[in-house]
């Protein structure tokens, strides 16, 4: 407990080098299950992460997405040092996570959307006092940083309320503040917006973007919500079957997949013939006797307002909704392309 956090002294751990370097990472789980009719349980090995290699430079923002069971959480657990890889190499901020878990914990901030690091029965403010002491912040550092977080995440209304009384959105903002209090170099967010309403999501994303711009933080984020990736990350990594299935810019992904967004229009009066659409869009179907028109378009070529302007000239629109390609959908296309 006496060593002070002086990462810069060791050249291997300093500001140089990638933020995250995963090399041929693999993790097997042994599952004991009883087969039907069998008398004894048999051990079965499940490979959750399979030969995963990924490099993230300092200052990058990466969205790490994949279907359930693709190996996202397992990867995060290995990156944070709470899970030992079966084989392969993990380096986070130049450290070996399992061996240097506690030192690493001072340099990274982690939010598990489904778990809490706040003190349930105490006012939110008290959690920050404890965390400030844990991270050895001086009173001045802590106060300055907390003021910034309170303003940016709009915490002032419930700082003095016990955490158990907070709404989900309030608590998540508190969790993010708790993870960012010690100004970590690497922020890992595991499903940070799960269960949040649009307003809370937007507020959270706006602050994460601002804070990153101010401090040059590396951001690593898993999510089910494609718009999280769009707003927060420049690079998207899709995992499938425990390995990287796609790694690149989000726009390129959509382009390469031709994965269009879908605009669903309900017209005020039925119209059987297709609407004329600008280039880059196409009519994907007409339903409900001409009331509902589905139009597919690529987000890269066409914006929704332009498309809408062109369509509303032709018919009166009663209602509309916009469908984003779901992550699961993108992942399925990626795996289909690979085969």
């Amino acid at each position: 407990m006496n060593q002070s956090p002086t990462p810069t002294r060791d050249p291997a751990v300093g500001e140089r080098g990638p933020a995250v370097a995963l090399t041929a990472l693999r993790r097997d789980y042994t599952v004991h299950a009883k087969a039907d009719g069998a008398r004894r349980r048999t051990a079965r090995v499940i490979r959750a992460v399979d030969d995963l290699t990924l490099h993230i430079e300092r200052g990058e923002a990466v969205g790490f997405v994949g279907a359930n069971g693709a190996g996202k959480s397992t990867t995060i657990k290995m990156m944070t040092g709470i899970l030992q890889p079966t084989s392969g190499d993990v380096r986070v901020l130049g450290r070996s996570p399992v061996a240097e878990r506690r030192q690493l914990a001072r340099e990274i901030g982690v939010v598990f959307g489904q778990r809490s690091q706040l003190w349930w029965d105490l006012p939110l403010r008290d959690s920050f006092a404890i965390l400030g002491a844990m991270h050895r912040l001086t009173e001045r550092e802590r106060r300055a940083r907390l003021d910034r977080l309170v303003a940016g995440l709009d915490l002032s209304g419930f700082l003095d309320r016990p955490v158990r009384q907070l709404s989900l959105g309030q608590r998540m903002r508190g969790e993010v503040a708790a993870a960012l209090l010690h100004s970590p170099q690497l922020v890992i967010l595991d499903e940070p917006t799960i269960g949040l309403d649009m307003v809370s999501k937007e507020g959270l994303r706006r602050f994460l973007t601002e804070d990153r711009a101010e401090r040059g933080t590396t951001l690593f984020l898993t999510t089910h919500d494609m718009s999280d990736v769009e707003r927060l990350a420049e690079r998207i990594v899709i995992v499938d079957g425990g390995a990287v299935a796609y790694d690149g810019a989000l726009a390129d992904l959509r382009e390469s997949l031709g994965a269009p967004r879908e605009l669903i229009l309900d017209l005020a009066s039925p119209r059987e013939e297709p609407l004329r659409v600008p280039p880059g869009a196409q009519c994907a179907g007409i339903e409900a006797g001409g009331i509902r028109h589905r139009i597919r378009f690529s987000g890269a070529d066409l914006t929704v307002p332009v498309l809408l302007a062109s369509l509303s000239e032709q018919a009166e629109i009663a209602d509309l909704s916009l469908a984003e390609p779901a992550i699961e959908d993108l992942v399925r296309r990626i795996s289909a392309q690979e085969r």
Binding site: G81, L83, R101, A105, F112, R115, A129, I130, M134, R136
Partner: protein, 264 residues
């Protein structure tokens, strides 16, 4: 160190908010104290005024001190760590830049300090009013007694932690907790003084850490054991702390290695 202190005081404050639980605890503690005191007093009366070195007043003091220590020692066991392992919340604990055992020990000390004040003092007052208390002759017994309480809380914490850490390997620790706590309640000298055990059971008890959890602080605080022997008992307590700490550290290390955080 500051962070452990902050956690300790925060846990203390947190427990001050559970007023109903505290009142209910005081009530049950005192009721059971009355019942236990009357049984022991009847036994001593039947034995002709003294039983295995305990006079009526000493037996009553033994009961009230035991009732006072019940909550701080957490003689019925805790399940928090086991539950956190099973639900995967242990991931959050492991990601704190603190020692895992230190984190939970600070919480335990915060809790126990509150329990000592809120749940320890009332049974002593009731005992002083109803039966009277045997007080130690040597004033040195008081500081030594306080020290043995602190050590007893530490021994009990480590023993309970071992049971909880078993959750890394077994899915359901409730049975183990129940078993451990019944053995602990008996061999620690909480139910009856260990000197009343048959010789073979007394011999077994003396080879376990359990008497260090209850019998030792009671004996020192009530003055049944003088300051000179108290030093020896403190040595025994400290030795158990070392042994159990080592065992807990080994278990935690192995457990964290084999950990497969559930869910999420």
């Amino acid at each position: 160190m500051l962070s452990y202190w902050r956690i300790l005081t925060a846990t203390f404050r947190q427990h001050t908010t559970y007023r109903t639980a505290t009142l209910a605890g005081i009530f049950t503690n005192s009721m059971f104290g009355l019942i236990r005191a009357s049984i022991l007093l009847a036994a001593i009366h039947a034995a002709g005024g003294e039983l295995n070195g305990y006079t009526a007043l000493q037996a009553a003091t033994y009961v009230w001190l035991g009732q006072a220590l019940l909550a701080p020692i957490e003689a019925f066991g805790t399940r928090e760590v086991a539950a956190r392992v099973h639900q995967g919340d242990v991931a959050v604990d492991l990601l704190r830049p603190l020692s895992f055992l230190g984190l939970f020990f600070a919480q335990k000390l915060g809790r126990s300090s509150y329990y000592l004040l809120a749940r320890g003092i009332p049974p002593m007052l009731i005992g002083a009013l109803l039966t009277g208390l045997a007080l130690p002759e040597d004033p040195l017994s008081y500081p030594l007694g306080v020290l043995t309480i602190a050590l007893a809380i530490t021994v009990a914490f480590l023993g309970d932690m071992l049971v909880n850490l078993a959750a890394f390997w077994i899915l359901e620790t409730r049975g183990l907790t129940v078993l451990y706590n019944s053995v602990m309640n008996l061999l620690s000298g909480f139910l009856i003084p260990i000197l009343w055990f048959p010789p073979w059971l007394l011999a077994i008890a003396r080879w376990t850490p359990f008497p260090s959890m209850v019998q030792t602080p009671i004996d020192v605080l009530s003055g049944r054991v003088g300051p000179a022997s108290a030093i020896g008992l403190i040595g025994v307590q400290s030795a158990w702390i070392l042994v159990l700490l080592l065992a807990a550290a080994v278990m935690l290390r192995a457990g964290a290695r084999s950990l497969e955080v559930q869910g999420g």
